[in-house]
Amino acid sequence: MRTSVVVTENTTAADLALGRSAVRRRILVLLMAEPERRLHLRELQRRAGTSPGTASRELGRLVAAGLVGREAEGHQVYFRATSSPFAIAVRNLILVATEPDPGPMPLSPADPESADLRSDLRHLKPHASAPEPPSPPRVVQTRPSELNEPKRPDALGLKVAESLARILRPIYGERLVGLYLYGSRAHGESKADADVEVLIVLDAIERYGDELERSSAACASLSLEFGLIVSRVFVSGQTWSNRTDGHLMAIRSDVVSV
């Protein structure tokens, strides 16, 4: 049986490139962020915050699509982003799609990276060509397994993160750039006792321990009140915007702003 999906202007580039599986997206972000590096299944599974079975299944799909290569070495199996034109184009899409504020696509003629992107995008017809005049929604044939609904954040995780935000806003004032729920509770795949993982973006961080201290009582109190662990990570606005290594990119692609 074949099923149709309507692609509208609300469909993000990442959706087009990766489908709507959050796990597949996180795995691909991890591999694409460091294309020269190969990663073991276990590491990918752990860093993507999913089970070995799900990681293996999604990797199989990515390998079949030619985006990821599989390398066996003894009893170990490693995965690495391929260097096919399609993989390069998808990587460029991911880099754009995971920026906090994507802005316009960098297609300036003077920019050599833009020239590469244009070159790579030519292989992606008809999905990613230059801007076209408005047209009726296109219909893409896809498998039912790709029809995963977008994951919703876990209600308890969101509630705890909002409580933390309410406490921290008066403490940090304008220094607080953003507060995000991330990890398994952000994409609704958490166990009942999973940590509530919060990422706090500040204008700048001089001494990490000072930020831990400022938020310490709030996190401990909420942990006791809700009977779970509230875990927080601080990053500066500059790190949040500019760093493109695997884990932070994976987090950035899957956060819920509180």
């Binding site: 006792d193 006791l224 779970l228 662990i229 990570v233 290594d245 884990h247």
Partner: protein
């Protein structure tokens, strides 16, 4: 003192010594990892009094919070120190590798030593 608690205290002491060594070497990531391990072993030693033996970090922190966070059996700040140590380790090590200053790690090591002394006194009162 129970045998397991004694072993955990010894393990915590080794981790503190190791954390100091890494601090001296300027390795914030490893020092914060050792300091966190020390705090976790001390928390486990406290939980052992109640016959509890949680394994993973999150389970230790959660159980310690339940048993000691508000009970008055131990100074309540130790619970948040434990959570802070776990979060510092998470930030500085593993996948995130955020830049964490040595001074912040030194604070966690000092706290581990204060916590160790308190746990020793607590366990002696129990025996």
């Amino acid at each position: 003192m129970r045998e397991r608690a004694t072993q955990l205290l010894e393990g915590a002491e080794r981790a503190i010594v190791s954390a100091h060594r890494e601090l001296d070497a300027g390795d914030a990531e490893t020092a914060s990892e050792r300091a966190c391990v020390a705090m976790l072993r001390l928390a486990k030693a406290c939980l052992d009094v109640d016959g509890l033996a949680p394994g993973p970090t999150q389970a230790v922190c959660a159980e310690y919070g339940r048993q000691f966070g508000r009970s008055g059996r131990m100074y309540s700040a130790y619970h948040r120190w434990l959570l802070d140590a776990a979060d510092l380790r998470k930030a500085s090590g593993g996948d995130l590798s955020l830049v964490v200053d040595l001074d912040s790690v030194a604070t966690v090591v000092e706290r581990a030593e204060i916590f160790r002394d308190a746990v020793v006194r607590f366990l002696e009162r129990q025996s």
